[in-house]
Symmetry: C2
Subunit: 380 residues, 2 copies
């Protein structure tokens, strides 16, 4: 291989087709030709979000999408229930505070998923909660939160359901309309397998009716401006977008729909299951609790006697495979394997072969082949 | 030509070298290899800003840079002097209001440059002005404001000088240190000739000392986070950046420095002068007042009896050349030619040849060759 295999939870390896689409000449972003590309791409975004809402591309990191979720909705002292079970849940809480909301934190131990009953309890106790934030797939802990079930709880309350699906959309089921999600964001560089640098957001009528009453606390990410420009003919963005990344998103979304969204999600689920089998086959331990396993990445406890820099350094420098470390207090205690985007059996088998060799070289008592064989069995 | 020639004030045509650099495989954005690219690119940014400050790339449109200028500096009711002589000056005033500042507007008629004495007068009358905002090159009117002279006025006051050089950096002199600019932003898609989607900012110690005392009103564009991540080894960004566009910026900045910053600015000045000669040769009228002419684009009054859609439509559909229209109240009254980035004699001569033919076809009484000959003479 002449390039590093990215087995991190984003950015993921980008198909050649997408990289080539990205390098097309720049079009006038206010012209008819670009407007058609934008409309087509936004329509595919809505299809992947499984919604009838309009969707909008934002030129920015996933965090710009998170900022858009809150800065358009909140006014001073608005109460927000933040479900916090990892770094990205925390970020939504920090954003709530940046935009002058009052955060009610529902703390979930790292590695666990939220219990929908706990959400219900807090909503019962506080009838003035304006919004609930949740990260669907918490990539810091490799945990998936029960999107459908929490959405079901929210049905009986006025609070908006604001959801981050940055690391799950197109790799796990995100049925925005069916699950009562009021506003949902994602990023380009995870399961969609486009390069990083774009976020996308979809907003339903209920959320719009709140947004329309609020003076947005952001100018760049003011969604009212995006709606107004999006409605123009030709369709536009309020500020010069990343034209090349819009091309990339169009191509990446076409690939998703050619594969079929359901097929793609099934492929992610199988990759996740096979990865867990391989981890267990190797005698390693999963970090997340059972029934909370993510479809798109897996967190593994660092084996006793192995340092993060030895393990990931060997994988990177000797085998050309990039794994992710732990974040915050998990630094050095877990490592993470992303299996999202275009990643499948071949990438996982080479990763586990290299991981077996790395662990052997680092003096671990493991049986060569035990991970790869378990992986193969899961796929057969 | 198989692609449209962009003669608009950004995005500009991007050199093949840059498009190819952009399509390289994605690197881990927290790794050593990417960190080196980021450091190299940021260092070149500082060189082009002509500053010893650190510079930072932002994944976003130019407007994200404008937001960063104000959202990190302002607290409620801070007084800001906004110099407003066009659409982008207005935008800095709107941003001031979004971030709860008290705007003092210095209105400059569209087509004119600000008079530094007027800035001084307002600063004398208000000793509590926290910042002055100015757009160096107002692309809505094709006017350049006197950056050096306003910076010289600011030397005697505490107010920060916050400057937008989105459409001038690398096409006109922006000596951040020498001109007393405290924070300065630019965009990727103008004179730097990279694709749109990145902004850059540089901040001096005086501005940092203010920023350090303020709770930023943005999370995504919180510059304290950018500084902290930038200082890490390897250097990083706080949120997953647009990796591909960082590659593009590195290549585009390399091209700028290979050409030589001074040479590039001279080339822009010559292109601007030749364009004005050609406009006059054709018997058309410039919109901006003399001595306020931009180096990077030219605004031309729409000839009597010609509509914007006829003129720009013919140029686009028949000749494959994209010109810009007027913005806001100038819509239909002016058209604009960008001569920024890689644009030079060849692009201008084909533009004026096509413009002559277009005007003739639209029934205007012009002499074929009168624009092109004036252009040639200016270049000879």
């Amino acid at each position: 291989m002449d390039e590093t295999l990215l087995m991190i939870p984003g950015p993921t390896n980008v198909p050649r087709r997408v990289l080539e689409a990205m390098s097309a000449p720049i079009l006038n972003h206010r012209g008819v030709e670009f407007g058609e590309i934008l409309e087509d791409t936004n329509a595919m975004m809505s299809e992947v979000f499984q919604t009838n809402n309009e969707s909008y591309l934002l030129t920015g990191s996933g965090t710009s999408g998170m900022e858009a979720l809150l800065a358009n909705v909140l006014e001073k002292d608005d109460k927000v229930l933040n479900i916090v079970g990892g770094k990205f849940g925390e970020r939504l809480m920090q954003l709530t505070e940046t935009f002058n909301g009052q955060s009610i934190e529902l703390t979930v131990p790292w590695g666990h998923a939220v219990n929908p009953d706990d959400v219900k309890k807090i909503l019962e106790e506080n009838d003035d909660i304006k919004a609930v934030t949740m990260v669907h797939n918490e990539s810091s802990t490799a945990v998936v939160n029960p999107l459908k079930e929490v959405g079901n709880v929210l049905k009986d309350y006025d609070a908006l359901f604001l959801v981050d699906t940055v690391s799950s959309l197109a790799g796990d089921d995100v049925k925005v309309d069916e699950y009562n999600v009021d506003a949902c964001i994602t990023g380009s560089q995870k399961c969609l397998a486009a390069p990083p640098g774009m976020a996308a957001i979809t907003i339903n009528d209920e959320a719009w009716s709140v947004i329309d009453k609020v003076d947005s606390q952001t100018y760049y990410l003011n969604m009212k401006k995006y709606r107004k420009s999006g409605d123009k003919k030709p369709s536009q963005t309020p500020f010069t977008p990343s034209v090349s990344l819009v091309y990339a998103m169009q191509e990446a979304l076409s690939i998703v729909l050619e594969e079929g969204l359901d097929e793609r999600i099934k492929r992610h689920a199988l990759g996740a299951k096979a990865t867990r089998s391989a981890v267990k086959g190797l005698g390693l331990e999963l970090f997340a609790e059972e029934n909370a396993y993510s479809n798109t990445l897996t967190a593994i406890k660092m084996p006793e006697g192995v340092t993060d820099s030895d393990l990931r350094g060997t994988m990177r420098n000797k085998y050309g495979i990039e794994l992710a470390g732990g974040q915050d207090h998990l630094k050095g205690n877990v490592f993470r394997i992303g299996h999202m985007g275009m990643t499948g059996l071949n990438e996982l088998s080479m990763t586990f072969a290299a991981l077996e060799m790395t662990l052997k070289e680092l003096g671990q008592d493991i049986e060569l082949g035990s991970g790869v064989v378990a992986l193969e069995k899961a796929y057969l």
